[in-house]
Symmetry: C2
Subunit: 134 residues, 2 copies
């Protein structure tokens, strides 16, 4: 497996993490996501991690990076489906994932992204971010 | 990886196949899907296979089984994201996947499932399938 599939659905990109992340895969995911955000104009990225039994500092950094890069492209990242044990371990490790929004499940995460898209539709896209459209 | 995550979104269950299927994983997916269909009352199952470079007779049978079991529970299965090379190989192998509906991508597949849910909402659920509600 050299690529993690990215699903486009209603203004959002959905990624399900199912395999152990390694450097190359994480980098490929970051590249693919940024390319898809630009190609589709998606306003949100939803990352589903219910298959992950461990979120260590490496995965935390990968998620942080994806969120930062997406934000630079004016898309919001929401991590959903975190297992209870993972949440406990994160706190114990002192990893707060402070740059990342979380939601309990896909439906709530999609609602967050939709709310943001609706807000943009009223205010104009990226009004708070100074995005340039050309 | 012992389980493939199943995402619930708006009346549909979404599964992304990313790893090589083996007997046990296919069986676990079938069981999980049926349990989730019953628990959520989902009207459709969307299976995304863009990560699969090969769809052989085993995978074909797994998809057929999932579609048949879902149909028995009054849910429609749509396979999306098939690679062009996979479609060509399927035809060359004589595998027609006749029991399975396909759509080009997730958005079209979700539209098919939504259309079916809307139809059910008008006609009553499972009117054409003789489903018993109790």
């Amino acid at each position: 497996m050299d690529r993690i599939p990215i699903l486009k659905l209603g203004g959002a990109l959905i990624v399900t993490i199912q395999v152990d992340m390694h450097d190359r895969l994480a980098l490929a995911l970051e590249e693919d996501l940024t390319a898809r955000i630009v190609a589709t104009g998606a306003g949100g990225v939803l990352i589903e991690i219910s298959a992950l039994e461990i979120v260590d500092s490496f995965i935390g950094r990968v998620l942080d990076n994806i969120a930062a890069v997406s934000r630079a492209l004016d898309a919001e990242t929401v991590v959903v489906g975190m297992r209870p044990a993972v949440a406990i371990t994160l706190v114990e490790l002192g990893l707060t994932l402070s740059g990342i929004k979380t939601a309990l499940n896909v439906e709530r995460g999609m609602a967050m992204i939709r709310a943001r898209l609706d807000r943009d539709a009223v205010d104009g896209p990226g009004s708070a971010h100074g995005r340039h459209e050309d």
